[in-house]
Symmetry: C2
Subunit: 416 residues, 2 copies
């Protein structure tokens, strides 16, 4: 069963979790002075509208009409009850997922790419620079820039640029320019942290260019809250008062935040972040100030981190290979409002294949982390004999990650 | 704007166009005797339920409940108004498309794979054999067999098996076995016609195995009519009495038939088939009896054909590289009820890129043929100053065809 909403039911405001957080957020610090950054420090990178959203304590922020017009190309996304998975697990749990894979770029990322492109164009910016790892974020921003007529320059981690050409082709089809990063070290495989450095350097160096980030920051998580808001309405249509447990995979935190933040005010809803064992930021990192990038050009953020020079192993869930985490997610975990768990990639791909064979769709490796945790929770519900309601985020499809499935099926995946 | 229907609105019967055809269909002939084939001739390949549908003249055929349950995993599919494309073309035409790319396999093919797997399982068959070119049909049948617990063996055209591994990985993820064809000539690149021969040989040789075909036959087109039936309802919701023109790409004819056949009884609706210039079956072929495969093992069908030994050039729209056409489509074209047009692939990819940059999604190369014809029709409407209503079939996404886009963007595509 799927619950659809008409295009008129896309939420018209973003939900700001900041007033609902159990502890107040610590401010970002300037990388040189270690003093709290002000709006003028961020102005070379972001338009004022986004800077305002980054620090806003307003409970709701209106979504501009032209942004809604574009979101309605694929939103509201379906809420699906995974009945065949329930049957396969013989669980009394009721399992729902919110399917963000239906966007043109195939993930939740366009939810923030679209407003970011919009606000930049409104501010007179003609060109955006960004980084991308495996390409989910870069392709989302390329899509958004195509629709708003902006130039887009994507610094893509060199290893992905060379080994995974198809998301690069997507970006080029939408008209973006894609180059391998680090730009000044053609023999280096690159990392997300160093690609951020390249993109920030580009944006700071050109008058007509701003920088755009696909996760971590408050305004990015804010834009993603359309996911959880829609899911709340759809769960009501499905006859559920609330989910007992909300599960999302967590790299920088935007997918998890988008689904989970609207449920934060309800203490009866448990929240679970799922990360890879090989990049265990929330489960094994330290809660402290750290840079968002490798070169130390970004502000310092108060977050769980493995250290800004941490280089995760090359697991297939490229979107979860980040040394830090969103300050909002970090605060929720640090306060105990949200739990976190880590899983190794072979167990994650076993869950993904099981899902594909019973539900029919092939999930992204990142999404498969949430599926692994969902299956564990559904089995626990069976053992407890409790009809728990589980909602997980289907953040993206795996159609551009099929090499990972080939490696898994051939027994070639490592758990490092 | 998109028009969605609830899952309860999946049509509960297939529409049989046979009673509405302007001329009666000529019967298939036995390849050896050249006499009309009877049910017993087909029994080694198909279950009786499908043989009955192949020759039925009933106007409606009920869809079994267990088939509906699976179709509802992704159906009804969206009807989308392509407003941004209309604006880009400055046309008074209203352009709608029916989006079949949302299925788990990414195309319309599961609409028939699911009932075919169901009827075979009901008949006690444990294993299905089929052929696939680029892999759209093979992946659809692999998906359906996974859900019904059937074994599936796919003979994949060797050139695609080696050059396009990702749809093969999809099939393997769903648990199917995939081998390159022709099986007995490891140095041969293969063709769809010879892969059909391999699959038929497999099915004839094993008691537990039937054969499954993804296009051409009457029962396949019948299963696809859920597409056009849903589109009719959705057009009403959109305030349109009827489309003036229905456009679909045409290889074997199942996508086009699925969308167009329910409109055949309304003489005010024009129907247009779009095929590649390099495989111009309807526009340059002969209407006569010919074999469906290369080896001459299948019945002879009355259809437009380029000859069963015709080998089309290796264009990227693999699903349109077939020497023949469905007898139903052939009869409609032969009688004048349906028109046909052919386009070269560079013009087709130009249309695809234009579509991706204004509407946001990247279409399959096959689908791009319909988009090219739609753009031409919308421009003609502008020149005539007429607000025509155009409906086209968005048969699949292009996410596993990105190499074709890379070749196009690099200027490497040939028009043969």
């Amino acid at each position: 069963m799927r619950w659809m909403l008409p295009t008129t039911e896309v939420p018209e405001a973003w939900f700001n979790v900041v007033p609902h957080l159990p502890t107040s957020l610590q401010p970002p610090l300037h990388p040189a002075t270690r003093e709290p950054v002000g709006p003028q420090d961020l102005a070379p990178l972001f338009p004022m509208a986004l800077i305002g959203q980054e620090v806003s304590a307003e409970p709701w922020i209106d979504i501009p009409g032209p942004v809604l017009d574009v979101l309605r190309l694929w939103r509201p996304t379906p809420l699906v009850r995974a009945r065949r998975l329930e049957q396969a697990l013989d669980t009394p749990a009721r399992i729902y997922f919110k399917d963000e894979s239906v966007s043109p770029a195939g993930s939740h990322k366009p939810n923030t790419a679209v407003p970011q492109a919009f606000y930049n164009r409104e501010a007179g910016v003609r060109r955006l620079a960004t980084e991308t790892g495996a390409g989910q974020w870069g392709s989302a921003l390329a899509f958004a820039c195509a629709l708003y007529g902006l130039e887009c320059k994507v610094y893509m981690v060199r290893a992905s640029y060379e080994q995974k050409p198809y998301r690069r082709v997507m970006m080029e089809t939408w008209g973006s320019s894609v180059v391998p990063s680090p730009v000044d070290r053609p023999d280096h495989p690159g990392s997300l942290g160093s690609a951020i450095s390249d993109a920030v350097r580009d944006a700071v160096g050109r008058e007509d260019t701003h920088y755009s980030l696909g996760s971590v920051l408050n305004h990015v998580l804010l834009h993603q809250t359309v996911i959880g808001q829609e899911a709340k309405v759809q769960l009501q249509l499905a006859g559920e008062e609330r989910p007992d447990l909300v599960i999302g995979c967590c790299g920088g935190g935007s997918n998890l935040g988008g689904l989970a933040l609207p449920f934060v005010p309800d203490p009866k809803v448990a929240l679970l972040a799922v990360e890879p064992s090989s990049c265990p930021t929330l489960t094994a990192g330290r809660f402290e100030y750290d840079f968002g990038d490798t070169a130390g050009m970004t502000p310092l953020l108060a977050m769980y981190t493995l250290g800004h020079d941490f280089v995760p192993p090359p697991i297939h869930a490229g979107g979860l290979r980040y040394h830090g985490d969103a300050p909002i997610i970090s605060a929720l975990v640090h306060s105990g409002r949200m739990q976190a768990v880590a899983h190794p990639q072979t167990a994650v791909f076993e869950a993904a294949v099981q899902f594909a064979r019973v539900q029919g769709t092939i999930p992204a490796p990142e999404t498969a982390h949430a599926i692994k945790a969902t299956i564990d929770a559904a089995v626990a519900a069976r053992e407890a004999g409790e009809p728990r309601v589980i909602l997980f985020g289907y953040s993206g499809h795996g159609l551009l990650d099929l090499q990972a499935y080939a490696d898994h099926l051939a027994g070639r995946l490592a758990d490092d």
